[in-house]
């Protein structure tokens, strides 16, 4: 187990380093604002509030949280201490609801939407890319430009197109929200059916945009592998084509797993923007509302949770990679 332990220990340490960096960034960015950050944060939201007592309360609670009169290190410890208790502060726009509460309500929606969508898109893209590399000829010639074009459509663009075509022109699917309006979330067939109907459009828009980039990457990877010496050698040996394709696919897949780990941040970003087109009750819509209403605690909290989500995804992918990469396995026998 020596090789595995070394690999995983390294990955766990790296996860905590990135997590720490994310927390530091979240802590430092508002403090880098010119002027008094607390006054700035509160003044952006205060324009719409008429109750001076509420503004005062917000100001004081934030002054305490930021503790600007204290040294930076101490401020940082207060901040981390709050975080460890799951305390992300109180939302301005939905005062006095805690930010953690709002994010907790939105998080399941985002995970349930993006995780399957990105995985399905990644898988479909890889299969199409591998097919394009293997079949070549007409399939490759028609598929690749389509993939390139689809890869160029931004996430929100795909979302708007699907929404306008299937939601409005054809009227097949609902255009907004996570479930029917007026329905109270509870466990019943009607509610689940409503959730599934609302799930389609956001899901497919994320799948469709993830396919393009993956297919192009997989195609190049597979072509590269198909030209490798071991393939030629296997052909000379008379090994069946089907078996060779299996080898090629496995070898080309490995970099694609790493590729997913490296690009998942970008994919999540795109998917978040797609989410808000459908007013899907996830983190994307939450952060949009927070930005519109100048709700700094909510923006900062959502940003942190998104980062942690992505970091976790990267960590899990790293772990999976450790199991499937023969090179990591090989170190077992050293």
């Amino acid at each position: 187990m020596k090789g595995y332990r070394k690999y995983f220990t390294k990955k766990i340490i790296w996860f905590f380093i990135t997590l720490f960096a994310a927390v530091v960034l979240n802590f430092a960015l508002p403090r880098l604002m010119p002027g008094d950050p607390v006054a700035m944060i509160v003044s952006r939201v205060a324009q719409g509030i008429n109750d001076p007592a509420a503004i005062r309360q917000m100001f004081e609670s934030y002054q305490e949280r930021f503790g600007l009169d204290r040294p930076v290190i101490e401020q940082f410890f207060i901040y981390v201490g709050n975080l460890l208790q799951g305390d992300l502060g109180l939302s301005f726009s939905r005062y006095p609801r805690p930010v953690a509460d709002i994010i907790g309500a939105a998080l399941p929606w985002t995970i349930a939407l993006q995780l399957p969508a990105i995985l399905v898109g990644w898988l479909l893209g890889n299969v199409l890319g591998a097919l394009a590399a293997y079949i070549r000829k007409g399939f490759d010639k028609t598929l690749m430009p389509i993939m390139l074009f689809m890869g160029g459509i931004p996430a929100f663009g795909m979302a708007v197109i699907l929404l306008a075509v299937f939601g409005i022109t054809l009227g097949w699917l609902p255009v907004a929200g996570g479930f029917e309006q007026g329905l109270i979330p509870h466990f019943s067939w009607r509610f689940i059916a409503s959730i599934i109907r609302h799930y389609h459009l956001p899901f497919w828009s994320i799948v469709l945009i993830s396919i393009g980039g993956q297919a192009i990457g997989m195609r190049s990877m597979s072509i590269y592998e198909l030209n490798a010496d071991y393939v030629k050698y296997s052909r000379f040996m008379g090994i069946k084509d089907r078996k060779i394709v299996g080898y090629v696919f496995r070898n080309a897949m490995l970099p694609q797993v790493t590729g997913l780990a490296l690009s998942i941040g970008g994919m999540v970003g795109g998917a978040l923007v797609a989410e808000l087109i459908f007013s899907y009750p996830g983190l994307g819509t939450t952060i949009l509302q927070a930005i519109r209403e100048g709700d700094y605690p909510l923006i900062s909290g959502t940003a942190l949770v998104i980062t942690i989500m992505v970091l976790l995804a990267v960590f899990i992918l790293d772990v999976i990679y450790g199991f499937i990469d023969p090179r990591v396995k090989a170190t077992q026998y050293d």
């Binding site: 890869g151 931004p154 970003g269 978040l272």
Partner: protein, 424 residues
């Protein structure tokens, strides 16, 4: 060098991409010449005016030369146009109610074609009876149908229309002219005509004009972001790859860090911290550039590391050439093609990043020109997609996709020339 260029221009992918980009650039340079002025001027009082040619109704009455045409089907067209969509819906509604009411009369909802004016009118005249009283129908609702019946008779009134001018000083109206059904004027004789190929947006601004200036701004944002990202990436990659050791570890630590921390989060936090007032197009481009250098750094470093110990580099080292000279003469030429490709991709992702940011309401705060992202943001914020105003968002998506597609095509074309293995 000349040969490489020839080869590049012979690649189909590159050519397609190059032609698309050239057409876009040509269009955004030429269009403002024919339609000058501020692209953000609100010309319309209504939101989301559909595309089409608009001419002043007022001025058209003053056109001196009136022509007479006897056009086939003109009367039919007139009736079709006069029967409004709501009237058609009402006819359908009444017929369906009558279907439930009357035992003999039978019609299904899918048999009623709202576009078929003749059919609709025929059904109406055959069956409409003001005496019929449906259950649960209020008097007001019944009056709607009665009024509709009166209006329907008016569809066939083709009398001349008289135009009178009101004089506020005397408080009297004076007769000007009468307009008959056969009178036509040439649109070019009308004093005020405005062609709006893509209608107007929610603020009543010419969408096409705005789009043209938005493409320019977005391309500029992409270029600045791409230059910064590629420049920074190249510099860091060269330093990390060539010097190696602790410097390499240090740079790679940050590179790996910012690869996993999602760029959108940094973009949101930084853009929000900057504040709406200070966020011009250039600032947004700067922020995008500063958050997207990691990919170039990784790739450049990997290439430089493989070049570092090649014979020609070692020879230069032995000859006592200085480090900058070695980098410029012996390393850069080998990675130049890659850097150009990375730059093209960065431009395209910079445009997309701006669009994403603007959608979140963190786009550039500019009053002089729109960006593609801002146009999308406005269109969706004012529910263009729900009110069927396709002209406010489809062209924008199409342009973003086209630019991105073209840049990707250029890139794959270059890739085929520089990576012969990929040639198919």
């Amino acid at each position: 060098m000349k040969n490489t260029f020839k080869q590049i221009f012979r690649t189909a992918n590159f050519l397609i991409g190059f032609i698309i980009i050239s057409i876009v650039l040509l269009f955004i340079t030429i269009y403002p010449i024919f339609n000058p002025g501020n692209p953000l001027r609100m010309i319309g009082q209504d939101s989301f005016t559909p595309p089409g040619t608009y001419f002043s109704l007022y001025d058209s009455l003053d056109v001196s030369h009136v022509y007479t045409f006897r056009l086939e089907g003109a009367d039919d067209n007139r009736i079709y146009a006069k029967l409004s969509d709501t009237d058609r819906e009402h006819i359908k509604e009444w017929l369906l109610l009558f279907n439930d009411y009357d035992d003999i009369f039978e019609i299904r909802a899918e048999d009623i074609d709202l576009e078929d004016t003749e059919g609709l009118l025929g059904l109406w005249w055959e069956h409409f009876d003001p005496e019929v009283r449906f259950d649960n129908m209020t008097i007001a609702e019944r009056r709607v149908f009665a009024r509709l019946d009166v209006n329907m008779d008016r569809l066939f009134d083709f009398y001349d229309k008289e135009v009178w001018m009101y004089n506020p000083e005397s408080g009297e109206s004076e007769y000007l002219k009468s307009v008959g059904t056969l009178d036509y004027v040439n649109v070019s004789d009308v004093a005020n005509v405005r062609i709006l190929p893509l209608g107007t947006d929610n603020f009543g601004r010419d969408t096409l004009k705005q789009l043209v200036s938005a493409i320019g701004t977005s391309l500029m944002i992409g270029l600045i972001a791409g230059l910064i990202a590629t420049g920074l990436g190249l510099l860091l990659g060269l330093i990390a790859g060539y010097i190696g050791g602790i410097v390499d570890d240090f740079i790679m630590f940050f590179t790996n860090l910012f690869t996993v921390i999602p760029g959108i989060v940094l973009l949101i936090l930084i853009s929000y911290s900057i504040g709406q007032e200070h966020r011009g197009a250039t600032t947004v481009a700067l922020v995008i550039g500063l958050t997207s250098w990691v990919w170039t750094t990784r790739a450049v470093r990997a290439q430089v590391m493989s070049l570092r110990n090649r014979d020609h580099v070692n020879l230069s080292k032995l000859s006592g050439h200085s480090m900058p000279k070695i980098v410029v003469k012996d390393i850069l030429p080998y990675i130049a093609s890659y850097v150009v490709m990375a730059f093209i991709l960065q431009v395209s992702s910079g445009i997309l990043a701006e669009a994403g940011l603007s959608m979140l309401g963190l786009g550039p705060a500019t009053t002089e020109s729109a960006t593609l992202g801002l146009m999308m943001n406005w269109a969706l914020r004012y529910n263009a997609h729900l009110s069927g105003a396709w002209w406010a968002y489809y062209p924008v998506i199409l342009v973003i996709a086209l630019i991105s597609f073209a840049l990707n095509m250029i890139n794959t074309g270059l890739d085929r020339v520089f990576n012969p293995q990929l040639r198919g």
